[in-house]
């Protein structure tokens, strides 16, 4: 560690660290545009200039390493003046688009301008006019007037994806970012470019004109799209009670985690949030006449609890089957194994996961489910049911999620389902109406419940709800705990579990690999 002096106070940082990173570490934000922690220093925006004692000129914080005894000042008048100058230059070549620009409210240029004094510009010449809506990828638009040539987008293509779609053409004030003719950005990380752009030059058509950044509510989560477990930020609006459709997810952003996803997330995860707002199953559904009165959780749990209690009869457990999926959380998979396999002695437990896909050589794994390792850690092995073998052998089927409908041909599935007396579905997505279930219990996606996933590298990551589950929907772990209690099986154990913390405690004891540490 190197000891140096930061704004008059002693500080320390690892050897070789830059002043900018070292200051950030100490909670001091040095303004910057071209710097990005994912890339080596670029040094072209000139915004991060700081005063170093003993140096006649201001130094770049992004490319000056800390040294023993170095004294740096990040907010002197000289520094402020230099930053105002850079801002004035940038704004002299920047359109006043804020009223129509998506980036407003989360724009570095706006933020620094406000921070350094809202100065009037001395620029009275004609501004450069450039193309404002250049498609550079399927969901990307480039506005060359807004571009401040920080080159993050160019460097992303060179250093992260190594696909090099973007380059710099011309020189001087005519410099512009561009593609080669018919070679647009077409990889699985295009959304990262819009996110990396510090201003509104690259905009994401998925988000374009939909809302204002300051209307967004933000919460951390873990992407459930594959087993990488990328850390994300879900940006949404709680909406208004009497305005249908106003409660929705607007955008998914990457959250930096050096151990999991670095600074990036893939497009599949980024743009795969539609299912959170459409096609949801948020209400209890029962088959006609199954339960007296309107479906209520109390009645549903009692009904199902009785069915589960009945499994303790001789030979009954052999005629029950559970088809879970590793889209469930660690806690839920633990409860599935604990309640069904261990306590109720149901051995026909299967995992029906989404179809595997191609990896993309970077973050996206072939497993398109977040918690295969969690299932393994909970003691559940992957296995699809053999429907032909099971036909006629199952009286009670408890099904989690809708993957079964994509993994098996319709005919085979109908034939099996017709042979099952009681089918219970726990799902957060509504099934196609054709299949009739005795009971449909509305569950919650990971964005609307607490839980943890174990990613492809065995890392356990916990998550909390971004927003409460809507309608009658509840987290599957809550439902399972209620069912366990209602079934009466192993009462001493389940009566001692009142909430997620208790479940985690037991889970950590029985399945050390799933222990939640953070």
């Amino acid at each position: 560690m190197v000891k140096f002096v930061l704004n008059g106070r002693p500080a320390e940082a690892p050897e070789g660290m830059t002043l900018l990173a070292a200051a950030a570490r100490a909670g001091i934000d040095i303004p910057h545009f071209c710097y990005h922690p994912a890339f080596p220093a670029e040094g072209s925006c000139r915004m991060c200039l700081v005063e170093v004692e003993g140096q006649p000129k201001l130094e770049l914080a992004c490319s000056t390493a800390v040294q023993e005894g170095l004294k740096v000042w990040t907010e002197t008048e000289k520094v402020a003046e230099a930053r105002r100058s850079v801002l004035e230059f940038l704004l002299a070549d920047h359109p006043l688009d804020c009223p129509v620009c998506d980036k407003a409210g989360e724009c570095d240029l706006q933020d620094y301008f406000r921070r350094y004094g809202l100065l009037p510009s001395a620029f009275e010449e004609a501004k450069e006019r450039r193309a404002k809506k250049v498609p550079i990828g399927e969901s990307l638009l480039l506005d060359r007037e807004r571009c401040i040539l920080c080159t993050r987008c160019v460097r992303f293509g060179r250093q992260v994806t190594r696909t090099e779609e973007l380059g710099l053409f011309q020189r001087g004030l005519k410099t512009e970012v561009g593609l080669f003719d018919d070679m647009p950005v077409a990889h699985n990380y295009s959304g990262c470019l819009a996110e990396a752009c510090p201003v509104g030059a690259i905009t994401d058509t998925d988000f374009r004109f939909k809302t204002r950044a300051w209307f967004l509510e933000r919460a951390d989560s873990i992407c459930p799209g594959c087993s990488r477990g990328c850390n994300i930020i879900v940006e949404h609006s709680s909406g208004f009670p009497r305005v249908p459709g106003s409660r929705k997810i607007f955008r998914i952003r990457a959250r930096a985690n050096p151990d999991v996803n670095g600074h990036w997330i893939c497009d599949l995860g980024r743009y795969g949030y539609a299912h959170l707002d459409t096609g949801r199953q948020e209400s209890l559904r029962t088959k006609e006449g199954l339960l007296p009165g309107a479906p209520s959780w109390e009645a549903a749990v009692r009904f199902l609890g009785e069915k589960l209690a009945g499994l303790r009869a001789e030979g009954a457990a052999r005629r029950a089957a559970v088809a879970a999926s590793s889209e469930l959380s660690n806690e839920e998979l633990y409860l599935v194994r604990r309640l069904f396999l261990q306590d109720l002695k149901v051995h026909k437990i299967f995992l029906v996961d989404p179809q595997e896909g191609e990896t993309d050589g970077f973050l996206l794994t072939s497993e398109r489910t977040p918690n295969r390792r969690g299932a393994e850690g909970a003691g559940l092995k992957l296995g699809l049911p053999g429907l032909d073998v099971l036909r006629g052998e199952v009286d009670l089927l408890i099904l989690f999620g809708l993957n079964i409908f994509e993994r098996f041909p319709g005919e085979q599935l109908r034939s099996f389902f017709d042979s099952v007396a009681a089918k219970i579905l726990l799902t957060h997505q509504a099934p196609v109406a054709a299949w009739e279930f005795e009971l449909i219990l509305p569950g919650a996606p990971s964005a609307e419940k607490s839980g943890s996933f174990t990613n492809v590298a065995g890392l356990v990551q916990s998550f909390a709800p971004v927003r409460p589950a809507g309608g009658q929907a509840r987290a599957e772990w809550e439902i399972l705990l209620d069912l366990a209690k209602a079934s009466g099986v192993n009462a001493p154990f389940y009566s001692g579990l009142t909430g997620l913390e208790d479940i985690r405690r037991e889970m950590g004891r029985e399945c050390p690999a799933l222990k939640v540490t953070s």
Binding site: G167, F169, R171, F180
Partner: protein, 162 residues
């Protein structure tokens, strides 16, 4: 279909590649060769060069658009380049530009309708002791004055047979 270069050009490119520690580093020499042959560097040539050097075509375009001697579009048969830097300005450069506008209607960036002449202004050519200077394609014309300019234009027209 990638554009294929003439055997002569291909041989020259191979030779240039052999003289460099890395193929990508030969980009400028190769582009000079291509431009000498084709008169300019169209998109198909950018693509072909990229393929030959193992580069992304975007990199080739980056270089073609950065350097002022490389031209992406065809120019006149005789591309006139008048220096507008200090020594040449002092020596009468602006007068030459004026005459070119008056006599053949050429403005910087433009070309004559018959495609014979095009004009651009250039920065210092390093011929300052012979100011004012201009280039016709790669040929140098020094200590120019208005009469010499008219003579030159005449000769070029005649050379072309028009």
């Amino acid at each position: 279909m990638t554009m294929s270069f003439s055997p002569k050009l291909q041989a020259e490119i191979r030779e240039a590649l052999s003289r460099s520690p890395a193929p990508k580093a030969s980009l400028l020499p190769v582009l000079h060769l291509v431009q000498d042959e084709l008169g300019h560097i169209p998109a198909e040539a950018e693509r072909a060069v990229a393929e030959l050097l193992g580069l992304n075509p975007v990199r080739v375009r980056e270089v073609v658009t950065f350097y002022s001697m490389f031209r992406g579009k065809p120019l006149g048969r005789y591309h006139l380049q008048v220096c507008v830097n200090l020594a040449c300005s002092l020596g009468g450069g602006p007068g030459l530009l004026h005459d070119l506008r008056e006599s053949i209607g050429l403005s910087p960036g433009g070309a004559t309708p018959d495609g014979l002449f095009s004009l651009s202004t250039v920065e210092c050519l390093g011929l300052c002791e012979e100011a004012p200077c201009l280039l016709v394609n790669e040929e140098r014309y020094e200590k120019m004055d208005r009469d010499k300019l008219q003579n030159l234009l005449g000769r070029l027209r005649t050379r072309d047979g028009g």
